[in-house]
């Protein structure tokens, strides 16, 4: 059964529902003006916050993006991103998993299935947010489309958060557009050792504000107060749910384990050592907690605290064969 052809419509400046932010691009010069955009789904409240970054972001980067997406959505802020692999997709997913709305700005026509691995995500975004493109339905994704569509991402947002960006990442172009448009630019500080965060760290040196938690956006979105303790997922365990049937010892181990695991991935080997558990005992404990949605396994034998109450482990594709 093929799904019904989604409804798409064309918006022009001045139409009801035309995002006002897009008109700002005209101030930069006529060649940057957006004449019209195709929309699929329903445009949520705009402007929002753009969360952008590298396609090859690694588990940590994706985790950060997912978390920012979820934090924003829980404060009623729309997440805007570019629907690319890696950080973009993680931001969309984090927002959707927390029940929010998101806008994906594409670098190709709305009828083009690109990137292919995002077919399921595409349906979800169009049902609970909107896909936006200035290209006609069947325009193929071209290399030069992407830096160009970045100006739309920036224009639809009041702030841009760069999560993980290498030296030449396209996310930097989004940041430049944002700066030109007078939008706030923030960057998540990254390690200075690898090439992953070279771009985002350089943004920080050039005057971008660091993004440490969602309260850094309070200037532009007053509802972005500091995250509640339970949201940070860093503190010791909250009383577990559904653990009533567990023996005392297991419960104790579980709380010690949760205290060890934070938003930053931890190797399971170290957890086992710290708790003095054999491999089988640790596997059972982690399995139970994973089933409860408290922790999640990442590729590379890493364990990370799951976003509490999100239960999105089943939505996130694991990077394992």
């Amino acid at each position: 059964m093929t799904p019904p052809e989604p409804r798409r419509w064309l918006l022009h400046p001045g139409d009801p529902g035309w995002p006002a932010g897009l008109s700002d691009l005209g101030d930069l010069g006529d060649r940057y003006r957006v004449a019209s955009v195709w929309v699929e789904g329903e445009l949520p409240v705009l402007p929002g916050v753009a969360v952008v970054g590298s396609r090859a972001a690694g588990a940590t980067g994706q985790e950060v993006a997912r978390r920012i997406g979820a934090d924003l959505c829980r404060r009623g802020v729309t997440v805007v991103s570019g629907f690319a692999l890696g950080v973009d997709a993680a931001a969309h997913r984090g927002c959707l998993a927390a029940g929010g709305q998101t806008v994906a700005v594409l670098g190709c026509g709305l009828a083009v299935d690109y990137p292919r691995s995002h077919r399921a995500l595409r349906t979800e975004v169009s049902l609970r947010g909107a896909l936006v493109s200035e290209y006609t339905a069947w325009d193929a994704p071209r290399a030069w489309h992407f830096p160009h569509r970045n100006r739309i991402i920036a224009a639809l947002s009041r702030a841009v958060v760069v999560v993980v960006a290498g030296e030449k990442s396209g996310a930097l172009s989004t940041a430049r557009w944002a700066a030109d448009l007078g939008r706030e630019v923030l960057a998540v500080p990254g390690s200075i050792l690898g090439p992953f965060s070279e771009g985002s760290n350089r943004l920080l040196r050039d005057g971008a504000r660091p993004y440490l938690d969602v309260s850094d956006l309070a200037d532009v979105f007053p509802q972005c107060t500091a995250p509640a303790v339970s949201e940070r997922g860093r503190e010791a365990a909250q009383p577990g749910h559904g653990g009533g049937s567990k023996p005392e010892g297991a419960r104790d181990h579980a709380s010690r384990l949760l205290a060890l695991v934070s938003a930053e991935p931890v190797p399971r080997e170290l957890i086992g050592r710290a708790l003095g558990l054999r491999a089988s005992g640790l596997a059972v404990l982690l399995g139970e907690l994973e089933l409860e949605g408290q922790v999640r396994s990442l590729p590379g034998g890493l364990v990370v605290r799951d976003h509490p109450n999100l239960g999105m482990g089943n939505r996130v594709p694991r990077l394992q064969p």
């Binding site: 940590t60 491999a279 482990g313």
Partner: protein, 503 residues
Amino acid sequence: MVATAISCAVQGLSGVPVTVEVDVANGLPSFTIVGLTDRAIQEARERVRAAVRNAGFDFPPRRVTVNLAPAEVPKEGSGFDLAIAVALLRTERELPLDGVACIGELALDGGVRGVIGVLPMARRLSASGIRRLIVPAENAVEAALVEGIEVIGVESLAVAVAYLEGRLALEPVAAPPMGEVCAPGGVDLAAVRGQSLAKRALEIAAAGRHNLLMLGPPGAGKTMLARALAGLLPDLGADDALEVASLYSLRGRLSDRPATSVRPPFRAPHHSVSRAGLIGGGAGIAQPGEVSLAHRGVLFLDEICEFPRSHLEALRQPLEERRVAVARVRASVVFPAEFVLVAAANPCPCGRLGELSGPGCRCPEPMVARYRSRLSGPMRDRIDMVAEVPRLNGEALLSGSPEESTARVRERVAMAQARQLERVGTTGARANGLLDGEQLLDVCRLDARGRDALTMAGERWRLSARAYHRVLRVSRTIADLGGEERVSREAVIEAFQLRVPAL
């Protein structure tokens, strides 16, 4: 004038006793060999002629015809030389050959050289009533492993003839004691630091003969772990050990692994191996490939994504049927190939995916997906467990408690295997990893909490039916290792930690 001698042709692990008939007739001097022979046998004419002469006998200057009967069975290799020479000499002299067979290749100076496949030939000849076997001295030990047959090792044609004439007394070679424990390159589990998850996976793989995939960056210790798995498997029984030795004899590889060894073999072919080398085949005598050399042991495929796809597809038959059929021109031979497959792969093309330190991985997701898709669906279906083998930093390598030794884990494995055998009896699958369909559901009885866990986890991770079965099989083995009658919740949850994720 006609004389005969007995030898043997090999076909796979079995063979056919061959009667070598020699007719010496008047006419122009000639030497012809008939009987569906290959090139090596045609060349025997030159070897036999020279060897007979140089051993001090006369080669009749007459019309010599040799027939290898039965004539419709294809015959290959140089092992018929000795029988041809002996039959030829019998036309002139008294050589009693009652219940005696001869195997061996002749050198031009009359010496006798070793050949491949003597062990399977000896087993076949023993079964067909031969009581005494004359073989090259090199091959005497392997042949002596066969019960009910007297093995005489000879170094030259002259010695063989003297023995048969009764002029020289030779003692039959004593059967060497089985059980020489020899695992070249074996690794004790205690020598591998950390990697507790992977070690546990090895223990489960050994106990239930489950196929395992290890994912990890280069240098994380995947090869060491795979080697350690062979050590976790219990010793082979006498029949199994003889079968494995026969395969090595056919491949001419008894130098790698002594015929008397009772340790399960470990084979680690490189990904540049030819298809015939992996599956079996080759010119001349059909030779077992790596899959059969790993019979009853471990086949380790490092960098499995680098193996040509056709090789991996060819692995399907041995993985499913536990044997492999090698097609020959005139027939097809079957070799046993029941092994535990341990595959290793990098998590992504650069190998750094998921690393916390260092330069990190920059492989784009589609490239990672493409790399992983090289491990095709059918292969993936045959892998029961996936274990991550991350690279450990110095701290993790140096600290920690002393590791468990191979010997201790092997005891648990042996106990778990005994439980499996007791449960299924002689009719069922020998190990949980071989369970399928009805039998799987019948054997893997869960208790109530175990069933709950299976349902919950299955929904949460959206398991396919096949993935379900894999988790069931693995959880049954975990329960066996823990001595549980029914599969508990803990066993199910642990099995889920080792599940093969959907692509």
